[in-house]
Symmetry: C2
C-alpha cells in the first residue's frame, strides 16, 4: 500500500475542505450563446449553482474551490454536471448526489441517506464526513474516496472504471487501499467463478 502524503490528504488540504460562503450568485441557467462566439472552439456555459425545486444544480463550474451548499433537506438531491477543477461542500443531510461528466472535482459532504453516484468522470475526490450507505462509480478514471469512521460500512459499487482508491481513517491519518479494476473469470465445471485479479501494490 502506498503512503498518502500530506498534500494528497483531503483533511489536510484546504482546497478540498472549502469553508467559504455559499456561492449562489450565478443564477443564470446554461444556454448556448451563438451570438457571442468565443475564441475557444468549445461552447462556454455560464456556471450554475442553484436550487431548482428539490434539485441542487451545480454545473459548468471552473476553478472554483469555495462552492458550498447549506440549508439542505432530506428530500433534496444534488446534480453536479461538467464541473472542472472545482470543489463543492454540501452540509447537512441530503438524499443523493450525482457527479456527471466532471474532471478534477472534489466533493465533501456530511450525510447522504441514498446514494452518491459518479459517472463519466475523471480524477474525482470524495470525502465523507458523516454517513453514506452506497457510493457508485461508473465509467470513471480516477476516484479517491475518503471515508469517515462512521461511513466505514459504506458499499462501493463499481463498473467500467479504473484508478479507484478508498482511504480509510487510521490513527488520525488515512491509509489508501486500491479497488480492484481487473477480474479473472474461469469455468469451474458447473458455473463461472470471478475474482479480482492480483493487485500489484
Amino acid at each position: 500500500l502506498r503512503h498518502v502524503s500530506d498534500d494528497q490528504k483531503t483533511h489536510k488540504n484546504p482546497s478540498l475542505r472549502a469553508q467559504g460562503p455559499p456561492t449562489r450568485s450565478p443564477t443564470k441557467s446554461h444556454t448556448p450563446s451563438p451570438t457571442s462566439p468565443k475564441n475557444s472552439p468549445q461552447q462556454s456555459h455560464a456556471p450554475v449553482l442553484e436550487l431548482e425545486g428539490k434539485k441542487w444544480r451545480v454545473e459548468y463550474q471552473e476553478d472554483k474551490n469555495d462552492l458550498v451548499i447549506t440549508n439542505t433537506e432530506l428530500k433534496q438531491v444534488a446534480y453536479i454536471f461538467k464541473c472542472n477543477k472545482s470543489t463543492l461542500q454540501i452540509k447537512g443531510k441530503i438524499n443523493s448526489i450525482t457527479i456527471d461528466n466532471c474532471k478534477k472535482f472534489g466533493l465533501v459532504f456530511d450525510n447522504v441517506v441514498g446514494i452518491v453516484e459518479v459517472i463519466n468522470s475523471r480524477d474525482i475526490q470524495i470525502q465523507v464526513m458523516g454517513k453514506v450507505p452506497t457510493i457508485s462509480i461508473n465509467k470513471t478514471e480516477g476516484c479517491h474516496i475518503y471515508l469517515s469512521e462512521e461511513s466505514l460500512d459504506c458499499e462501493i459499487v463499481s463498473a467500467k472504471s479504473s484508478e479507484m482508491n478508498i482511504l480509510i481513517p487510521q490513527d488520525g491519518d488515512y491509509k489508501e487501499f486500491p479497488v480492484p479494476e481487473q477480474f479473472k473469470t474461469a469455468w469451474d465445471g458447473s458455473k463461472l467463478v470471478t475474482e479480482p485479479a492480483e493487485i500489484v501494490g
Copy 2:
C-alpha cells in the same frame, strides 16, 4: 440463463465459420489518400490482410466474412485493427491474437499458445476450436466467447468492459453465462473485500 437460438450459434452460423480461400490480395498498406476525398467525412483506408515479418496484419476490413489465415506458425502473432462487420478464421497454432478497435467482428481460431486480447472494441464474437490459456477483454462493450471442450480451462481477464458472455458447450449445444461487470467493495475491518454484484439472470 438465456437459451442460445440457432442463428446466434457460431458453430451453426456460416457467417462465423467462413471456409473460403485466404484473402491475401489487398496487399496495399493503409495510407490516407488526401488526393481522392470521398463523400464520407471519414478517411477511408485500403483493407489489409498480410504477413509482415512474424505479424499477420488484418486491418480496415469491412463486410468481409470469408477472411482466412492459414499456414500459421507458432512464433507468429495476429493483429486485427479497425475491422467492421467481418469474420476471420485463423487455422493452425499461433502465438497471440489482438483485436483492437473492431466492431461486429467475428474471430474463429484453432489454437493460441499465448493470449487473445480484445481492446477498445464492440460486439465481438470469438470461437475457440482448440485451446487458449487466456482471453483478455479491455474497454469493450459486447463480447461473446464460445469455448470448446478443450478450452474450458481458459481464463478470462476483464477490465472496464460490459456485456461479456461465455458460451459453454453442453450436450452438443451451447449454454450462455454472463461475465460479471459490476462489483461491490466493502471494508471488512482490516481490508477491502470485492465481489461481483448480483447478476440479474
